[in-house]
């Protein structure tokens, strides 16, 4: 038999340089900052200003800078202008949007339900980023979240996905601690949620191979006093309004909290065996998605040290204290930020940290090698991050002001295998994220795109990075039950109802085509080039009729008029297009190609054609 058909029937500069270390590895770290001293750097590795401003904007905001900002930067002759630009960007709203998105991707734990929990989570997280809250403080707030899930500053969504999806209380606790170790320690501990590490994980993760399922339960037990809680029992669950009322009043509570009184309410996922606030490692075959547990009541204990709550301390407060005090907490974030800026972590995969391979001595005891590609630099940056009070912006300043960040990787060749040479490589060249491609196309062509979000009726958003999850933008966000609008699109600044729908659907479709992630299913965005993405950019009707069609792009219209009225020569036109879309000047061969193409065409055909070729160019789609 050759083929299978499967039918789916489915349904929805200050501080830019950290203090130089006194310890060993000085040379390595100095090279990271200033380039190798032993040999003269290859001049072709120098990243010019125009490519630098493109890269730094894309990495820090996911968006491209305004042309005016570019020209201002280009005309600035100060030697400190790059550091000053970094400083300017990390103080911008676009930076806040991009890094809110980063943390939402990291936690991947949204619950939609009309945005009741998701929107407060999104905007509260955004405020923490905007305020520059230290990473340890952010993590602690998430772990210790209590209160009404729909309130304005609620972070309940961090817990909500598991609370709603789990069918069994112990799975909820196990899944949630797995999420915490994965996102905050870089460790996927779910293997030992089913079985001991021994005889299973020796070839996979030395550290986890020495840990037991009971140690995992000890971690989950830090969460066992927390419940999704419904404060009363008289909701009209036969009506949609009654169900919504329940959702709005649903709380996240902690039985360790002296102020909490269960009263008449009851727990979501209620199960009297587990309602006393303890982790009872006791389950029957077929209950939940893990092998049966048979360990009695398990006390909270940190997996590496056995440390538990102090007297008078709630279990989750203890977890927050111990977790954020663990060096692995800082190492994880350093590794993730390094991967963001350099395309690959010191440790890969980012959730695959092995505590048995952290340093040479530990690795040797396991008969293994060190996991990190550069222990000296990684530990140095981690010291800096801790010393700077887990200040994410401070760490970003160090990374982006380094020599290593500011080289032209496209000219670096394959690179070496050791030390800093590994990073001086064209492996750093990457395709833009789906959100960055979306924003770049519509921003550069000045189409005026703006988006609406479920549950918000009083404002619009102008970037894919401002969307709280992959179900947005939502073309139905302004609709009412009668088939009309809660708020007319025109009153929010949309030129027409047609434009309103076009903006939403075109962004949804473009983001999907380029592989946006799925937080609900915890799938990361795809940045591979596929036949589908290539065909979309080359042939998709939207690109041709709406983006490059007649009278759709103010930028194109202006350019055509300038050329027809002889305000730009053909050579100037080519340079304008290259600088705008590829962020560099054309080389002589490219000038000839464009000149040859343009000579027998009208401007209104030739210019959109040339822009089309640039939107499909590797230098537009890659960074």
């Amino acid at each position: 038999m050759r083929t299978v058909l499967l039918f789916l029937m489915t349904c929805p500069l200050v501080g830019a340089f950290a203090q130089m270390p006194k310890a060993a590895g000085l040379e390595e770290i100095a090279s990271f900052y200033r380039g190798p001293r032993a040999k003269k750097p290859d001049p072709s590795l120098k990243l010019d200003d125009r490519l630098f401003i493109r890269r730094i904007f894309l990495d820090l905001t996911g968006r491209l800078p305004d042309p005016e900002r570019v020209e201002l930067f280009m005309s600035n002759t100060s030697t400190a202008k790059r550091a000053a630009l970094v400083e300017e960007i990390i103080g911008s709203e676009a930076f806040v949007d991009r890094w809110t998105y980063f943390f939402e991707d990291l936690f991947s734990t949204h619950v939609l339900i009309g945005g009741i929990y998701r929107n407060p989570f999104h905007f509260t997280l955004r405020q923490m980023v905007a305020d520059g809250r230290p990473w340890n403080e952010m993590a602690s707030r998430l772990i210790m979240e209590t209160g009404v899930g729909s309130r304005e500053d609620s972070l309940f969504s961090f817990w909500g996905l598991g609370a709603f999806l789990s069918e069994f209380r112990l799975d909820f606790l196990d899944d949630q601690i797995s999420l915490i170790t994965k996102s905050m320690l870089g460790m996927s501990t779910s293997c030992i949620s089913c079985h001991d590490g021994a005889y299973h994980l020796e070839d996979i993760n030395k550290g986890l191979s020495t840990m037991t399922r009971r140690q995992f339960w000890g971690m989950a037990a830090f969460l066992s006093s927390s419940y999704a809680y419904i404060p009363r029992s008289d909701y009209d669950l036969g009506s949609e309004e009654g169900i919504l009322e329940l959702y709005r009043e649903l709380m996240y509570v902690d039985t360790d909290d002296a102020d909490f009184n269960k009263g008449e309410g009851f727990y979501f996922l209620s199960d009297e065996r587990f309602d006393d606030g303890n982790y009872h490692a006791q389950s029957e075959p077929g209950e939940g998605m893990r092998a049966p547990r048979n360990g009695g009541v398990v006390e909270p204990a940190w997996m590496t040290t056995g440390e538990g709550p102090q007297t008078g301390e709630t279990r989750r407060a203890a977890l927050a204290r111990i977790l954020t005090g663990d060096r692995q907490f800082a190492l994880n974030m350093v590794n993730r930020l390094w991967a963001h800026f350099f395309g690959e972590g010191f440790v890969e995969p980012l959730t695959g940290w092995d505590l048995g391979r952290l340093d040479t001595e530990t690795a040797l005891t396991h008969g293994s090698t060190v996991q990190s590609r550069n222990v000296v630099l990684m530990e140095y940056l981690t010291d800096f991050f801790i010393d700077s009070n887990y200040d994410l912006r401070a760490l970003m300043r160090v990374l982006t002001n380094s020599w290593l960040y500011q080289i032209n990787y496209a000219n670096a060749g394959k690179g070496g295998t050791n030390g800093l040479d590994y990073w001086v490589s064209n492996r750093r060249v990457r395709r833009l994220e789906p959100e960055a491609i979306n924003d770049a196309i519509f921003d550069l062509l000045e189409t005026g795109h703006r988006y609406v979000i479920t549950g918000i009726h009083d404002r619009t958003f102008d970037s894919a990075w401002q969307l709280p999850d992959n179900y947005e933008p939502n073309p139905g966000a302004l609709s009412n039950r009668e088939g009309g609008f809660v708020v007319e699109p025109e009153s929010l600044g949309f030129p027409s109802e047609e434009a309103y729908y076009y903006y939403q659907f075109s962004a949804l479709s473009l983001l999907e085509r380029f592989g946006r992630g799925d937080r609900y299913s915890q799938v990361l965005a795809d940045t591979e080039s596929t036949v589908q993405t290539a065909l979309s950019m080359m042939n998709w009707e939207m690109i041709h009729t709406w983006v490059l069609g007649e009278n759709t792009s103010p930028f194109l219209q202006r350019l055509i008029e300038d050329y027809e009225n002889q305000r730009q020569t053909e050579t100037e036109l080519t340079q304008t297009l290259f600088r705008r879309f590829l962020w560099r000047d054309p080389n002589p061969l490219e000038v000839d190609i464009f000149a040859s193409y343009f000579k027998d065409k009208e401007a209104e055909q030739g210019i959109p054609d040339m822009v089309w070729s640039l939107l499909n160019h590797v230098d537009f789609l890659y960074k």
Partner: protein
């Protein structure tokens, strides 16, 4: 479903299978991977068609110009740890390859320009070179007249009913199978069964409409594949093709207050036909209103699972479903069908046994 009623001797019906999940995304994920959803491994686990694409890669010949996997409609699960080329080709809900045709009325000059720009970029040794290769492959597909005919890009249509959509998917699948150009797995999609309200209401996606779509599509496939000779020369194409019709979970039996039915994992029906399946049989028995299983109908002392169904599909294609892959990014051994969490799984051999007369 009158058309299927006339063809009961062609298909078998499983009535003793349960799903493990009752949330769409997680249940679909399990159905397409044979694995429970795990946040730690979500980006590593491939679609089962990607696994088969990898396994069959060495058997492909020069005339195999189509990818081993085609996915019509949905593309939620991708190639995981396997190479991008095993991700499969995604087709639109109407069974056509999206954007194969260039919308622009004078495409050749634009493409000439792009080709010159690609050449001017030189031989790029980084990921940008992959894009240029992909663009050139895509361009070759655009120029492939036979491909256009196979994937129905040359036929315009304006009927957007589920019946028309699904029938077009089935017609595309039949053409691709008959063309024998290397495709081994085709995933089709008939959406709209999430009928929490007004399941018998009047609309394009009520139960009668979707049933009609399924009836038309499956009957067409049976008849079309049965009318064509097998690639091996013995028997028909239907005998070489396993057709599986399955949802991610069942629906509650009683109507809710909105006149709909909600998610229900305990029991769901599965139709199988072709590929050696002995038609005219049911396996397993449910109670009178279909709420629970009363007779499992097979040799194992438990209900059938999605894992068992997946093992059956692998087995029918001649692939050892205990196949394992060691070199994953996480280091964790990948099993074609997960047994580490779900426990042992078994192919449903009774499907292929002679039905007693």
């Amino acid at each position: 479903m009158p058309l299927l009623a006339e063809r009961t001797d062609r298909f078998a019906l499983l009535r003793s299978i349960s799903a493990s999940e009752q949330v769409h995304e997680r249940a679909v994920y399990q159905m397409l991977t044979g694995h429970r959803h795990s946040a730690a491994l979500i980006n590593e686990i491939p679609h089962f068609g990607s696994v088969l694409s990898y396994i069959f890669d060495g058997q492909r010949s020069q005339s195999d110009t189509l990818p081993s996997l085609m996915k019509i409609g949905r593309n939620g699960v991708k190639n995981g740890f396997l190479h991008n080329k095993h991700g499969g080709l995604k087709l639109s809900f109407d069974g056509r390859i999206e954007n194969l045709d260039h919308f622009y009325e004078r495409p050749s000059s634009r493409f000439d320009l792009l080709t010159q720009m690609q050449q001017a970029a030189g031989q790029l040794q980084d990921r940008r070179g992959d894009l240029i290769d992909t663009q050139q492959r895509s361009r070759a597909m655009m120029l492939d007249v036979e491909l256009g005919q196979l994937l129905g890009t040359e036929t315009e249509f304006d009927d957007y009913s589920p019946t028309a959509f699904f029938l077009r998917q089935c017609q595309t699948a039949a053409r691709v199978i008959n063309a024998n150009k290397g495709t081994r797995v085709i995933q089709l999609t008939l959406d709209g069964w999430d009928q929490h309200v007004s399941i018998y209401g009047e609309g394009s996606f009520d139960l009668p409409s979707l049933s009609r779509a399924l009836d038309d599509g499956l009957a067409f496939l049976i008849d079309d594949l049965e009318s064509k000779p097998a690639v091996t020369g013995q028997g028909t194409l239907l005998e070489e093709t396993l057709i599986v019709a399955v949802g991610e979970f069942g629906r509650t039996v009683a109507l809710n207050t909105g006149g709909g039915r909600d998610h229900y994992p305990d029991i769901l029906p599965v139709l199988l036909m072709g590929g050696g399946v002995q038609g005219g049989q049911t396996i397993g028995v449910s109670n009178e209103n279909g709420a629970y299983i009363t007779d499992r109908g097979w040799s194992q002392n438990r209900s059938m699972t999605m894992g068992d169904l997946m093992a059956t599909i692998y087995s029918a294609l001649g692939v050892d479903w205990t196949w394992r892959y060691q070199d994953t990014p996480s280091g964790r051994v990948f099993e074609a069908v997960d047994t580490s969490i779900a426990g042992p799984v078994f192919a449903i051999e009774d499907l292929f046994s002679e039905v007693p007369s």
